[in-house]
């Protein structure tokens, strides 16, 4: 019996009659579209499209920060709510004479940035402790599908890559961070291969490299459409092999500083037992990832369960400067149907391979390889203004991603070979993406900004480093596909190496929580409600009914 035959019981979800009617139109003009080229936006058209339709520009969705190092600067409301919030720790009641664990380098976060920092710091001779909120590897890295950029082909160079990154970010990126990113890129591919990561390759060893939105050379290295998963599980395996200490289900809930403002560790919360763990560290690396689970403007998200922007809140209270926190990346192609997996990621690689975006009448409306901010805006325009979207039975709206084109263009079997995760994702619900298009809409994907870092991941708070999605400056106002898997490893490794080296120098002083006391005073003065606490740790998806029960009786449940 094959595995297929044993799984016949699965629930089948079918397209509605109306949707099927539109699918017929898409299929009917597929042949005519196959070789059709769609013009790229002119710089002016792109600017107009973004200002009018990109969610970042929607009035009332950002505000000015009232306190802290970025006071007076704009912030996305939901990010503002977590950085302008009170600590979960009450400094007055906390016994700081206690140290449960002493380490050279503390790494907060168990995704790609945290794992690569851990490996590099340990290689440099440091004692490393890695703590993480959920399981080691529960991170956006695991879910990144499409690929990782590195300029390693004959007709490509770090300089060409640099220009693509800057243009993608609207020329707002911090140039020396971009330079670091692109120059380290090929060495990251080499490092991953040495660790045993399997890339898509031709028989002679040449990488299969594709375009992504906004690239001028084919430099997207992939591992089918499990690129991030392959990176994450390889790094995780190596961290375990090297016996690096990892504490799961224990996020940091506050940083520790000394009298001089140096970061000297963190207080962790074991979420399973509600026990605190006081970690004294010579250097600390925040690798806490992004914030999709804050659901900016109530968008669904592609992010993992723990992506609540904890690092921003912790770093900001400790005095670290943020950058580009007034912009969020919405991925153009989140699932709109089946509704029960809405918001989940459809990799950009589908468009790299030739899948086109078409409206209810089967007409294209944007060049699919524009940058993500532009494609997402075009989809929003098509659905909201032009009313050319397709409605699902549950009331969601989306446009078609014409996936059957991939096999038409690349040859039969290529979708299955190069994107098995996407085929599987829909097959589970009875939808065959090789035969039928899939319905997509914009979904919250990436925190463009974060804590401002330098090229070694240092922040303005001494001995506090940030790497990965929690960092800001590299991508400016919009990141290109394949540069996130790259950046977490480039800056993860750099932060790990530098933090290890710096931990050899004189250790910091006695841990205190003066930064929290100071920040709380500022918040009170600015009139911020004392109900607001961060880090958020996890979203609360209990139904309204379940929450109302708790509130109505003014109890907190059995806990």
């Amino acid at each position: 019996m094959t595995s297929e035959q044993t799984k016949q019981w699965r629930t089948v979800i079918t397209y509605s009659e109306d949707m099927r009617h539109s699918i017929d139109k898409v299929a009917a003009n597929r042949k005519g579209r196959t070789k059709q080229s769609f013009p790229k936006l002119t710089p002016d058209e792109k600017k107009q499209l973004l200002t009018k339709y990109h969610p970042d520009y929607k009035p009332g969705t950002t505000r000015k920060l009232l306190v802290g190092p970025n006071k007076g600067e704009p912030v996305v409301n939901e990010l503002g709510d977590i950085v302008e919030a009170y600590s979960r720790i009450s400094p007055e009641k906390t016994d700081l004479s206690r140290t449960d664990i002493q380490t050279d380098v503390l790494i907060i976060g168990g995704g790609g940035a945290g794992a690569s920092a851990a490996l590099t710091a340990q290689e440099a001779g440091a004692h490393v402790l890695l703590c993480t909120k959920l399981r080691f590897g529960d991170a956006n890295t695991m879910m990144a599908q499409g690929g990782i950029q590195a300029a390693d082909r004959e007709n490509d160079s770090p300089a060409i890559h640099h220009l693509d990154v800057m243009g993608g970010g609207g020329f707002t990126n911090i140039p020396n961070l971009v330079q670091t990113l692109v120059k380290d890129a090929p060495s990251i591919i080499e490092w991953l291969e040495d660790l045993g990561m399997m890339f898509d390759k031709k028989p002679d060893g040449t990488f299969v490299e594709m375009h992504g939105g906004g690239t001028s050379r084919r430099r997207m290295h992939a591992a089918r459409d499990y690129t991030g998963a392959e990176i994450m599980r390889t790094l995780r395996d190596e961290v375990i092999n090297r016996d690096i200490q990892v504490i799961e289900f224990s996020p940091a809930i506050e940083l520790l500083t000394d009298a001089d403002g140096n970061c000297v560790g963190a207080i962790l919360l074991n979420m399973e037992t509600n026990e605190f763990v006081f970690v004294n560290a010579k250097t600390t690396i925040l690798a806490t990832g992004g914030s999709g689970r804050l659901h900016c403007q109530e968008f669904p998200t592609t992010n993992h369960y723990g992506a609540t922007g904890d690092g921003l809140a912790l770093a900001y209270r400790a005095g670290a400067k943020l950058a580009f926190v007034d912009t969020i990346q919405y991925h153009p192609t989140g699932v709109a149907f089946p509704e029960l997996i809405s918001g989940q990621l459809i990799t950009e690689k589908m468009r790299s391979m030739g899948a086109q975006l078409v409206n209810i009448d089967g007409e294209r409306f944007v060049n699919e390889l524009e940058t993500r901010d532009a494609v997402a805006s075009a989809i929003i325009r098509e659905c909201q203004e032009r009313n050319k979207g397709v409605r699902t039975p549950g009331g969601l709206v989306g446009v078609w991603l014409d996936t059957p084109l991939i096999d038409v263009l690349k040859g039969s079997g290529q979708t299955q070979r190069l994107a098995p995760a996407m085929v599987r994702q829909f097959k589970r619900f009875g939808i065959d993406i090789i035969k039928d298009p899939i319905l997509v809409y914009a979904t919250q994907h990436y925190q463009n900004g974060g804590v401002l870092i330098d090229e070694n991941g240092r922040t303005n708070v001494p001995n506090l480093y940030v790497a990965g999605e929690a960092a800001g400056g590299i991508h400016g106002r919009n990141r290109l596909m394949g540069n996130s898997l790259l950046d977490i490893l480039v800056f993860g490794r750099r932060a790990g190496g530098d933090a290890a080296k710096r931990s050899n120098a004189a250790p910091g002083g006695k841990p205190i929580l003066d930064h929290v006391v100071r920040f709380h005073k500022e918040l009170k003065k600015a009139g911020v409600s004392t109900d607001r606490h961060s880090p958020v740790l996890l979203p609360d998806y209990r139904s309204k009914e379940a929450k109302i029960e708790l509130e109505a009786f003014a109890v907190r449940g059995w806990e």
């Binding site: 019996m1 094959t2 595995s3 629930t11 710089p43 959920l134 399981r135 529960d138 695991m142 390693d152 082909r153 004959e154 770090p158 300089a159 220009l163 800057m166 140039p175 330079q179 120059k183 090929p186 591919i189 080499e190 291969e193 040495d194 660790l195 045993g196 990561m197 399997m198 890339f199 390759k201 028989p203 060893g205 040449t206 001028s216 084919r218 591992a223 089918r224 499990y226 998963a229 392959e230 599980r233 395996d237 375990i240 016996d243 399973e272 592609t302 993992h304 369960y305 997996i341 989940q344 549950g394 098995p420 995760a421 599987r424 994702q425 589970r428 619900f429 209990r542 139904s543 379940a546």
Partner: protein
């Protein structure tokens, strides 16, 4: 199914509830008021945190799935298995030879495989786990690596294995052996690395880093775009 067609009866860890039917096992639990800590990771079918076993009342079969990817059904009785105690060998991947000895040294229990196919039947990714194990037993690292590539390490195969093999850890050892030792290296990567290390792009990069936005914009808008591979 009951009178209200839009709801179904499910049994969470055996306890009966009625929920709307357009939910997954994961979102049904949340709808009921569960706030998950274990058993919830990527919520997209990539991380393996929400391995779940279930039966449909009246059917003897024990079924498996990911809670985040499995719609609820009437009469569904389920339990999450968010953690499986497994053996995980420690090894230095670079010092190993990519052959059967590496696998047998760390996971000799693979030879206990009964070829019962329980692993394959349990796999929520529909991978041919029995074939992966057969390849491992033959020392066919390349095949074990290729066939297991889409594994999300949820552990369901191992929970069902009568020979107590931890298939997903055997598989990742195979993949890393393949990637490190067997995969042909790309000549173009090495060449580019040599150039970068020799400083060939340094001047151009510093020039770009110092450019004004206007200059960069001009350069960007006139840059040549390589066509897609034919």
């Amino acid at each position: 199914m009951g009178a209200d067609k839009s709801t179904v009866t499910i049994y969470v860890f055996g306890k009966q509830y009625r929920v709307p039917q357009n939910l997954t096992i994961l979102t049904a639990m949340e709808h009921l008021g569960y706030r998950l800590l274990r058993g919830c990771g990527c919520r997209s079918g990539f991380c393996g945190a929400c391995a779940t076993v279930y039966r449909i009342r009246g059917d003897f079969r024990l079924r498996t799935g990911l809670a985040c990817q499995t719609p609820v059904r009437d009469g569904m009785v389920f339990s999450m298995l968010p953690f499986h105690p497994s053996t995980k060998a420690r090894y230095d991947i670079k010092s190993l030879q990519p052959d059967i000895n590496a696998l047998l040294r760390y996971y000799p229990e693979i030879l206990r495989c009964l070829q019962c196919n329980s692993c394959t039947r349990a796999c929520p990714q529909d991978l041919p786990v029995i074939d992966i194990m057969a390849a491992a037993m033959r020392g066919d690292i390349a095949n074990a690596a290729d066939l297991s590539f889409d594994c999300i390490m949820c552990g369901l195969c191992a929970t069902r294995c009568p020979a107590e093999i931890v298939q997903y850890n055997v598989a990742i050892l195979s993949r890393r052996l393949y990637g490190t030792h067997l995969s042909p290296k790309a000549g173009h990567l090495k060449k580019k690395l040599d150039e970068i290390r020799a400083g060939r792009y340094d001047e151009e990069l510093s020039k770009l880093a110092k450019m004004s936005t206007a200059e960069l914009t001009k350069l960007y808008n006139s840059r040549e775009i390589e066509p897609e591979e034919a």
